[in-house]
């Protein structure tokens, strides 16, 4: 293997030694303001097929083991926090709908969300409060964190599995919007004489 460029080696060593993922800016600052874009790209390429990888998660970079080696490394390691089903659902809702208020989460789940559920997600560092919605009551709104992206191996929120399909199917829109649209279509269908229950189901 040929000796890489000194800057590449410096970026490599810095990210290797870092205890936390680092943004490109932080790496650059650590290396005296050098332009490290090309070095990062080269390292990603270099490690592409190796046992460890350089990955970008939420604009921050870190080395991690290759996913296909999971079976070798998983043993004798403490399991990552097991989330309750409620917590995983709430996490998904926050991730796909963010920023989202607790009332909006509850509207989707059809059940009250225990106080502890959001706390668990915030304690894990995956969800945080990002402000308040400017509506009556000014409810707090939640969103995911860079740690969430890091943990779930997402480069950005756009990488959320199935995000595009869900958007296209309107499944991330509020029920009210979908309802208005569906009623319009259903209305036309009903005009044509179709009664009963199933009619609007099919046209939806």
């Amino acid at each position: 293997m040929t000796r890489p460029d000194d800057l590449v080696r410096a970026v490599e060593a810095t990210l290797f030694a870092a205890e936390e993922p680092m943004s490109a800016e932080a790496i650059s600052a650590h290396l005296g303001g050098a332009d490290i874009k090309a070095a990062l790209a080269e390292l990603v390429e270099t490690y592409q097929e190796r046992g460890i990888r350089l990955v970008e998660r939420g604009k921050r970079w870190h080395f991690q083991t290759a996913p296909d080696l999971a079976h070798l490394l998983r043993r004798e390691r403490e399991e990552v926090r097991r989330l309750s089903r409620a917590a995983t659902e709430v996490l998904a809702i926050v991730a796909y709908h963010e920023p989202v208020s607790r009332a909006e989460i509850e509207a989707i789940r059809g059940v009250q969300t225990a106080k502890g559920t959001l706390d668990v997600l915030m304690e894990a560092g995956w969800v945080r409060i990002v402000g308040r919605r400017e509506v009556p009551g000014r409810p707090v709104i939640y969103a995911t964190t860079p740690e969430f992206l890091t943990h779930f191996g997402l480069e950005s929120r756009r990488d959320l599995p199935g995000l595009d399909e869900l958007k296209a199917a309107g499944l991330l829109d509020p029920v009210e919007d979908a309802l208005a649209e569906a009623m319009e279509t259903a209305g036309e269908a009903n005009e044509s004489g179709e009664g009963g229950l199933a009619s609007q189901d099919e046209s939806a």
Partner: protein, 267 residues
Amino acid sequence: MSSELTDSPAITLPADEWDGPAVAATEDVALYLELDGWEGPLDLLLDLARRQKVDLRTISILALVDQYLNYIERAEALRLELAADYLVMAAWLAYLKSALLLPREEQPDPSPEELALRLQLRLQRLAAMRDAAARLMGRDRLGRDVFRRGAPEGLRVDRKAKWQCDWFALVQAYGQVKVRTQPVVHMVRDRMVMTLDSALSRVSSMLGVNLDWMELRDFLPPHADPKLRRSAMASSFVAALELARLGKAELQQDQVFGPLMLRGIKA
């Protein structure tokens, strides 16, 4: 949106067990445990809907309502404790069912079709999120499937101060030290004062003449030079305190910084 979600224990039972005529003792337990596994009535409805093994978009709400009501009935027959929101949902679904069965012209507003559609849309959204949650949890997760470096050296930034000071600041500082520590001769200028003794005799003689409340400043010599006035004020105040202490005068002040009132006490 589909049926690949299997994290709920409820789905492990084959669908047809639901319509079984009798429930064996072991199944009672299973049923009870299932109820525990649902995150509310909407979740139960979604599970029931999935047993129809059809796309949620084409599901029969009427059939779903029947299944739900049937489930609740059986749970009640087994005297299982049902959370209130399951019963509320049951009541609402019973209403929805009857409305759906009404002749069209007698339908209330909002129409039962709209209510059914709303329920269906909610189920779709919940299903989408359950599906998304499962896919999210199934990703290569850090600390479970992929790992960061076990023992990173860590990066440390030691801040080092680069001290700044210029010639002028240095020289000026020295000058100020010298000035500050130079022996200083204090000259007290001769100024007009009213001594305590003269204030005492002035105030006490004036108090003897007038037994009404008077303001302290009325005791000061009129037309005095302002500097003498300050001295006279201070001396007269102390004199007033002294007279009060001796029981020869009373003092009164209505408010902080208000006029100080003074009157004599008859011996």
